[in-house]
Amino acid sequence: MCGIVGYIGRREAAPLIVEGLKKLEYRGYDSFGVATLGKGIELAKHQGKISEQSSSTTCLNGKTGIGHTRWATHGIPNEVNAHPHLDCLGKIAVVHNGIIENYAELKRQLQSRGHTFRSETDTEVIVHLIEEEYKTRKDLLFAVQNVVPKLKGSYAILVIADGEERLIAARYASPLVIGVGDREFFAASDMTPILEYTERAMYMEDGDIASICKEKLEIFHNGKIVTRPIELIDWTVDDVKKGGFAHYMLKEIFEQPQAFYDTIRATNLDTLFGVVSRPSYITIVACGSSYHAGLIFKYLLEEACSIPARLEYASEFKYFPSPVEGIIIGISQSGETADTLAALKQAKSHNCRTLAITNVLGSTISRTADATLFMRAGPEISVAATKSFIAQMAVLMQIINQLSGRKCGDMLLHAHQAIEEVLLMDVSEAVTLCKSAQSIFYVGRGPFYPVSLEGALKMKEISYIHAEGYAAGELKHGPFALLSPKTPVIAICMPGETYGVMISNIKEMKARGAPVIGIGNEGDTELPEVVDIFIALPRTPPFVQVLTSLVVFQLLAYYTAVALGQDVDKPRNLAKSVTVE
């Protein structure tokens, strides 16, 4: 999601806008830019973090300005594609949030009339259209009023022009709010950048165009002046971002069905064919949760496609001789994980083909790898990965689907329904058991072994209860000594070849006095008899069972941490992305 900020008033605009953009960081971004009315239009655009690049931006002059954070959807993230965009003469600057659907057609027309386009964005057509109108009459409001009817799609735009000390704002189907201060005005995608300066807000309606000068604000609708009420805002910045959920993590858990579906839809099988055309060998490098995603991938891939796969912790990869054949897949949510980057670079130097899977368009990893597949999870704020993990699984499962000759059919397109189903579950009984536990053991076989690892990771990450995941058969080789009534075991026991042996494993654990929570299939009659607490997952194919059991573990970890009063979103000692070795 992009974010926009504008200012006109008595203060220096640039530092204020940069601060405002920082407040919009939570929407996610990969590049940003600011333009002010100083000596002509002054412009600064950067790729990357605002905090790292702000110094060259804040020194722009002028008391009127606009700024933008971009989360790339069309066109790669770089300085050229970053907003604000200028017209051919550099006299008009525009920032835009939304999508112009008819931009290709408009762009062709404009190019045939001699306009030069610098970027690949849809936004640039707006500024060239304004330029044309502005030539006939030097009135920016008039120009925007004439351009807006030509645009199809959604937009919130802010425009400034050299020689006019005013800010023009227009919106249609993208959010835009105006903050009313004392002889100063603010405009932004939401109230977060504005709240620090004023609590008086004016929301623009679809089709409104505002002409904002230092002393005066006028709003036009269909060419007529209208008034919009001023509202007093009394909520805090944090409320906005969590959108009513108690924690980001819970919000993100509930966004998973959408994240999975969007990622499956976006990971086009036809383009995938070019990227991974039946390699002889696959190596996966990753850290943390992504490593677990890689391990699930390895299990499912080898079973479905009979392609040998190897998985390494990115941090350990360098201690092995580099693979010489096949493809190397690096998985990183942020795309900035230092170890994973180093591993990919090393593989590349040995002439291996590299593929990155990441959530952030234009992140370092996507520039390092030969090809990149993006997950469509949207920005993830909670440190514990939830929806990005599910979106990673979506990309990886789609790869398997492609390599296995599309064996999955439309199963993956319906998988989000099963996730939705799991979100309706009540895990309170299991939470009561877990919250007083000393240690928790997660066990499973086959692909459910890495699921157990991930479940245990989530639990220790946020509830601080010691938890370990094991392959069910391994428990007997040591950890059995630790079992006691204070160490619940969470066992995944799905119908299939592992069912019988899992049941006998569970019985052995019960015999050592450990309470067992069994995750099984709906309608199972044997498992509920054996375990203390039975959690039933909807009946689905194995691929989907992996997803549903992951989601149950997330819910379990979340509610346990909440019951213990932990700070779920910012667990102690942890950072969202690890950018050092």
Partner: protein, 384 residues
Amino acid sequence: MQAVILAAGEGKRVRPLTRSRPKAMIPVANHPIIEYVIEALLKNGIRDIIVVVGYRKEQVTRFLNQLDIPIDVVVQDKQLGTANALQCAELKIKGDFLLLPGDNYIDPQSVARIKGIPNAMLVKEHPNPSNFGVVQLQDGLVTSIIEKPEHAPSFMVSTGIYSLKKEFFSCIHGNDMTDAIASIVETGGHIQAIPADDWQDAIFAWDLLKMNRRLLGNLPSGKEGVVSRQTTIQGAVKIGKGSTIGPNTVITGPVVIGNDCIIGPNCCIQPNTSIGSRVSLEPFTYIGNTLVMDDTIIGSHSRVMDSVIGERCKLGDHTSSNKATGLLDIEGIVIRSEFGAILGDNVTSGPFSIYKNSIIGNNTIIESKNSVISRIIPDGSLVI
């Protein structure tokens, strides 16, 4: 001005549709009912909106998050009643405010009528007043209000929409709004009654069809997705992104079709039909006056009329669901009703199944060639 929308209650009488959502979140004409309420407020310039959530609160909150404007969410832990729900929002109330149920449709004009008048309620005549708070009026003021009386003294009912002052909180005794209003009226306080224009409540699941008809009337047409050139479209028809409409399909509006649907070829969609997203209608299927929610598949050669079909249902070929009249026992009361089928979420039914005036619970499996007439099948059943 502020507004409080109540969306905490499940809405037991519209079961089985409330398994994964409260009544306020049931999609009618492809938008949850609460969205129409929020829209009516926004059209009146009311943007400071507080929603009280409870039953399935995460699902409601997630939806509210997708809206353009920030909405304040308050949680009611136990669903004790409407006045109790309002009390959950007390700390956020600064002055005069509107109170609205999230599960009733209200038009913006009616909101405009009441918003400036403190201590008022919107009232409307209803043919079955016994399901509501029945009010008696004199000179535009409320003289009495009785909650769900067996013998209603008038046809005028409270819509549950109030315009109140902050002081109202000190008048709340008991858990229900009707009690609170009754005690104000009894102690000589004034509550103005203002007639509502268009207010719709779906008391029972089949009432959703009427609401659907009403709301489809406001529908702007628009076609995205891929529509075959051999498709015949008449009237107001809205087709979402990514949907494909096969050849020789006939669609007669008002009809709305969501995103990523696969319709036809050779289907016939009759007026007053809402189809959610990712739905597939297999060839030669005839559907009309029906509400189909997301991810459902309706088999070929089916005829589905006057029905509400939940999410993720899989109906086999030659399914027939036709309007019939019968008596059904809903929450202990026997009610005369007329519709085809009400299907909960994830109902799987085999080929040649027949429904007449039947309610099928969530996650039910119905094997082929069964006919279910004037019956309620509970959640999770297997019909052989």
